[in-house]
Amino acid sequence: MRKTTIPVGYIPLVDAAPLFVAQDMGFAAQEGLSLDLKRAPSWSSLRDMLAFGQVDAAHMLAPVPVATALGLGSAGAPLDALMVLSLNGNVIGVGRDLAARLADNGHDFDFADAHKAGRALIKAAQSPLRIGVPFPFSMHAELLYYWLSALGFPAPQNINIRTVPPALMADALRAGEVDAFCVGEPWGSISVDQSEGSLLLPGSAIWKRAPEKVLAVRRDWANSETALSQRLIRAIWRACQWLSDPDSRILAADLLSRSGHLDLPADIIDRALIGPLTVTQQGLQRNAPGFLEFHKGSANFPWRSQAQWIALQLASRMGMERGEAMRSAAEVFRSDIYRSALRGTAAELPGASSKLEGANERVTSVPAETGTLILPPDRFFDGVIFDPYDCG
């Protein structure tokens, strides 16, 4: 079969794994594709490379296509999300001074309880709290605002959220430019190893099923290259399925550590992929169940309600009209193309394309296109349920 080459951009992070696996483990070839993987120096550059056609698809922060649809930021073309690449996988951490104050106040760094960690942080923080995130339009920023506001911390007024590129986070922490951070792996672990950082919480402690990265494409490409989009979705879906098998993780960590990919030691990548994470300089280790999910529980399905949740957060903070923002955001997560790509495969497709977010306290079965589908717990830490039909 003749292969079609698709240029695909990524940022060097553990959650770019589905792209490497799709290419290196032959899932792309199975669909007659070859992924020409291009590393980008920053999220804004990657977004522009995508918008202006240097790449046709990209590993992208879930809020970026939504922000673009809302006219925020400065993308040159409308972007759509074909599928979710991963859920969660970020860590929230603090620098040396803040960690010492937390420890003095008796915080145990359990890396699990968002209420406890949040109250401890608010008590120990000096105002304004300076927190580094990789990009203004990111789940990092959204989860931080959500978490601290829900606990009564006057966010965004008393939080100074600063943009620090992931690879520079450890340096910014060491230089005292930020007091705390939220970043994707392996950069949180690197901050622990190199900059006396301590990890407070995994992102999953705030929202169990937060959409983290998506596969983004230009809207006109998605609409004109439907067959290619479908093949790409299938290839990456199979890569995600492979990644979800615990037996694959050691090989995946090794693959990611290679010089053409992340070019970092495999043992630091292991922490995110296999666990446990080292959360303090003293070597305290913690396991976080569901820390980074690539596939299970229909994780790859681009729920329109996920885009709407993101739009609601952005619109509320920017003072935009919420109903309109949520309507334009819903169209960005292309559950229609995802369904057409995976119908007839082993993938289970839900009956609806939108759902309540945060409503499942335990494993729940919902109607699928054929039969039923099992959805795992997806709670927010504060128990709030997001109803996409109730916010317009």
């Binding site: 202006f52 925020l72 040159g76 203004p136 600063r162 943009t163 590129p165």
Partner: protein, 211 residues
């Protein structure tokens, strides 16, 4: 989005009250490169140009200067800090946006290709931006070519060095002259369908084990 702001700017007459001289901020840590960029912009017109070399608090620094346009190397990871500027004010009022006016035939794409990103304050007329961007693109293309040349030269030198070492080792081990040693290496490379330098590198690095 920028198109909208052009229209709204024209309607509200924002363009008329803008200073006649464009102010440009160039973000570049390397002093020589910065000077070259400034020089090439000077040849394109009369501009007020400032260089920022320190990435700490980049967004804040730029906000202080309040320029009409920001130029930054795409390879610079600190570029993401500039995205904060798009949030600092209302998105439709004083947008600092990548130059995305589609009518400027491929100019943005050319800029990305050349490795420069340009942030432009919404409401500025395309004809004022074009010469600046063209000058910047030309300069960055040159940088890119130099970068490639440097990498290639370095590789060629390293290749030659490793081939020389491998040759020497073969000469010593097999008691052959230089020409014969080179012929042996070349044959091995052809048989294995690999680059000569790769075969030489493999020999040199595994020979270390035998010493």
């Amino acid at each position: 989005m920028l198109r909208c702001s052009f229209t709204s700017a024209r309607e509200t007459g924002v363009c008329e009250i803008m200073p006649s001289q464009l102010s440009i901020v160039v973000v570049e840590a390397d002093r020589d490169r910065a000077l070259q960029i400034v020089d090439s912009l000077r040849t394109a017109g009369e501009y007020e140009i400032r260089v920022i070399s320190e990435p700490t608090g980049l967004a804040r620094q730029i906000q202080q200067h309040n320029p009409d346009m920001v130029l930054i190397d795409i390879e610079n990871p600190s570029r993401d800090m500039l995205e904060e500027l798009t949030l600092a004010s209302g998105p439709k009022e004083r947008a600092v946006a990548m130059f995305v006016d589609r009518s400027a035939a491929g100019l943005s794409a050319a800029a990305i290709e050349a490795g420069v990103s340009a942030y432009v304050v919404g409401g500025m007329m395309p004809e004022r931006i074009t010469p600046v961007l063209e000058a910047a693109i030309a300069r960055f293309r040159l940088f890119q070519r130099m970068r490639t040349e440097l990498a290639e030269t370095k590789r060629a030198l390293e290749d030659r060095k490793v081939i020389d070492r491998a040759k020497g080792m073969i000469m010593k081990a097999r008691g052959v002259n230089e020409e014969q040693a080179y012929a042996l290496l070349r044959k091995a490379a052809m048989d294995q369908n690999r680059r000569l330098a790769e075969v030489a590198q493999a020999l040199v690095s595994s020979a270390g084990l035998l010493l």
